[in-house]
């Protein structure tokens, strides 16, 4: 069985927002109990992360670190085009994931105890984000 849907995520503030509950609800709706789930974001200004849910600091410091790896005013991006803010964003997309997948077990995401699914929104003027969810299983 295959279930696929593209949802519009409401605009999120800049930063990492947990979307595990939203995804769990869609999986429940699909009625697929065992299989895999793939998530895909349709833009290069946000990424998908699976990270620690126990301490809020973890996700904050992860995205701070990643943003520093591809800084907004980097020599490389300045060489390409000073006006192209999208270059560091494209790099941040490339070093993270625009697609993630995880198992489904007993009709739920088969995540570890401390794992959560996050959308890392990087623009200061948040937009609705298209996210495609594809669930394959039985």
């Amino acid at each position: 069985m295959v279930f696929q849907d593209t949802i519009k995520l409401a605009p999120q503030e800049k930063g990492a927002t947990e979307i595990t509950d939203l995804i769990s609800a869609i999986i429940k709706e699909s009625k697929i109990n065992v299989g895999t789930c793939q998530l895909f974001v349709h833009n290069s200004f946000s990424s998908l992360l699976i990270t620690d849910t126990a301490d809020e600091d973890t996700k904050e410091q992860t995205i701070d670190f990643l943003a520093q790896l591809a800084p907004s005013c980097d020599d490389i991006s300045n060489v390409i085009n000073k006006s192209m803010e999208s270059i560091p964003e494209a790099m941040r997309s490339a070093i993270t994931q625009t697609t993630i997948s995880f198992p489904i077990r007993r009709g739920k995401p088969g995540l570890g105890t401390w794992q959560g699914i996050y959308l890392w929104e990087r623009t200061t003027q948040p937009k609705k984000r298209d996210l495609t969810i594809t669930i394959i299983g039985e």
Binding site: T36, I50, T58, Q61, S101, F102, P103, R105, Q115
Partner: protein
């Protein structure tokens, strides 16, 4: 056909562990000949990679490179309840993979000759790590 199971590993500190044999054996036992094998690590401080399996210095160099890229105890980090390697381990996980999808062909992992599947432990002490495996195909 769909087969789902857990693989369990004990790690003994930071480094890469070749798990190709365990994954291949599980595929063989599943009886699925053609399809996709999805493996997902249920932790946020250990990850999965495909890497060269012939020369172990490749993985030693990967370790060294990662240690230079993400420094334990970086002054940026606030999340350090479990030690200087704690936050670095979460970031190392994000920069690599929590899941891998590998083709199954003739009942085996259809890897390249020099490819191996590795669990990358990012914590410096020993841990028990669970990998959820989903094989779909005929």
């Amino acid at each position: 056909m769909l087969h789902q199971q857990k693989l369990r590993f004990s790690t003994t500190g930071r480094g890469t562990y070749n798990i190709t044999k365990q994954v291949t054996e599980a595929i063989e036992k599943s009886g699925i000949k053609e399809g996709i094998c999805h493996i997902f690590i249920q932790h946020t401080s250990a990850s999965l990679i495909l890497c060269e399996n012939a020369d172990k210095t490749v993985r030693e160099d990967l370790n060294a490179y990662m240690a230079r890229l993400v420094k334990d105890g970086d002054s940026l980090f606030k999340h350090k309840d479990e030690g200087a390697d704690d936050m670095a381990a979460h970031i190392r996980t994000i920069l690599t993979q929590s899941s891998l999808s590998i083709p199954v062909h003739k009942g085996k992992c259809d890897l390249g000759l020099w490819q191996g599947i590795f669990l990358w432990e990012h914590r410096t002490n020993s841990h028990k790590r669970n990998i959820a495996m989903t094989i779909m195909g005929d």
